[in-house]
Symmetry: C2
Subunit: 307 residues, 2 copies
């Protein structure tokens, strides 16, 4: 079975949306990525750090979902990363109410030996120096995918530029692509970002879908229009998990297959937002994913008889 | 040849974008609709009104592009509708600098007898009462498409609701769909709008593409990501022209064929924004449109081998 190595935060999230609010629940980039990627038949492992307050029950959730957690360090006496946020009525914007880095502040990732030969590496949003440390521990992976955000562009741009030279795919949202490239047009932005290292640029546009750029080619995956978006937290990470998980399972990193990977990324993200946190992903099965693939096909596929 | 009856403003536009500015040029909904629709082999006619100041040269432009103008009334001593606007740097938002309704204020549309049996009616953005007057002059068209905007929702909502009962397709942007329906989710908005009359709802999202809703089905056409958007004026009308022109040419108003129609609408709109006003549409040829169709196919079509 092909291996996927995932690095990312493991957190407590407290979320408030117009539909309700949660106490501390399982959050962070790595759980969303892993639970999404593991919809495919792969051997996935998380490298992360949590505090002593992290419930055994959550660690069991990973195991039950076939996610290897040998790389999750539990810091004695430490507290787990905590984030709380409140979504506005349109669900497209949110305010961060509180961020406690806790044990994530001194995170020094250790890739378990059994996963140093992973086929694909998915670097969830983290300090670029931490992402780079993971790359340096790997033994020639086929593909390295990096997710990042504006915080690192604002605060550690040099580190980000350094790690970007070592990655094959970047996933980033539209505003971040504009910030990183200085270009408003996403077509031009992608071309500027190629020059920084990644051969493939995935621009996530939330409810407006995702664009994949490679050389002079483009592919677009819409987000599935939904009646209700319950909680958008983790949708981008779920997308990245579906993307990297599909590529890992198929072992095919061609541009043609990456098109399928962004469709699966959108597909899985459309489930993630249906419930709070990772709840929907934990109880998702393959049949539901394949069924929704039909919805994506009817949403996008057409047959034009040339006139 | 199948007939398309187009009603809409014919105007002078003065446009300023980050790339330059124009004096008074040919604008208004009807020219964009007609020059787009006429990329297909159809017999299209405009019903509109202009002032005595309207240049013969523009009327010749219509004729050279095989657009029948018997229904364009020239008001002696009257002045043509004038609009000027300035786009912001992101090209997604604009300020209206000036609007002079002029002869449009008293527009009483007269459908030429030869087009009262048109197959399809495309009602460009105008006062709903004017749109309804056109419908009442028609002899049982196969399909009536209506475009409108928030101005009429704010000022003549009752008239709008009255005409909506008589139309088959509405084209509207996302914010307008939300305003008209009171629903944020576009899926829910479309369902509310069905109840007002139209069996088909097309929601235009500008650079984020367009959604077609029919019963429980959805189809999505992306906008083609472009390096440069020179002037977005008329993109929505050009979309409506491509949509209604394709349906007229094929004579097929099934949902499956409407999918193709929204793709052609997006295709033609992607040309319109490349130059000021209607300039790009006047000099467009079928080969370019078919060539760009390939770009839409590679942007959206995928082959997933089920795992």
């Amino acid at each position: 079975m092909n291996k996927l190595l995932i690095v990312g935060s493991v957190a407590f999230d407290a979320i408030e949306t117009p539909f309700g609010k949660t106490d501390k629940i399982l959050g962070g980039a790595a759980p969303f990525i892993a639970l999404s990627a593991n919809q495919f038949d792969i051997d996935a492992a998380i490298v992360s750090v949590v505090g002593e307050d992290f419930p055994q029950e959550y660690l069991e959730t990973f195991k039950e979902n076939r996610v290897n957690i040998d790389g999750i360090e539990v810091v004695k006496g430490g507290k787990t990363f905590f984030w709380s946020g409140k979504y506005h009525n349109d669900m497209n914007t949110r305010d961060t109410l509180e961020t406690q880095l806790n044990v994530l502040a001194d995170f020094d990732p250790k890739v378990p030996e059994a996963y140093q030969d992973a086929d694909i590496v998915m670097l969830g949003n983290l300090a670029p120096a931490v992402q780079e440390s993971v790359i340096d521990q790997m033994n020639d992976p086929k593909l390295i995918v990096l997710d990042t955000m504006n915080f690192w562009m604002d605060n550690t741009l040099d580190d980000l530029k350094k790690v970007l030279k070592k990655v094959d795919v970047i996933t980033i949202n539209d505003e971040e692509a504009r910030q990183l490239s200085g270009e408003y047009s996403l077509v031009k932005a992608a071309k500027k970002i190629y020059e920084m290292g990644p051969a493939y640029v995935v621009i996530k546009k939330g409810e407006h879908g995702a664009l994949l750029f490679y050389k002079d080619e483009m592919f677009f995956a819409p987000a599935l229009p939904l009646e209700d978006v319950f909680d958008p937290t983790g949708a981008g990470d779920t997308f990245a998990g579906g993307f990297s998980g599909y590529l890992t399972a198929t072992g095919d990193i061609s541009f043609e297959n990456m098109k399928n990977a962004v469709i699966y990324g959108s597909n899985l993200a459309s489930f993630s937002v249906e419930k709070f946190g990772t709840e929907r992903m934990v109880h998702l099965d393959k049949e539901e994913v394949e069924e929704r693939l039909k919805a994506f096909k009817s949403l996008t596929q057409f047959e034009i008889a040339l006139t």
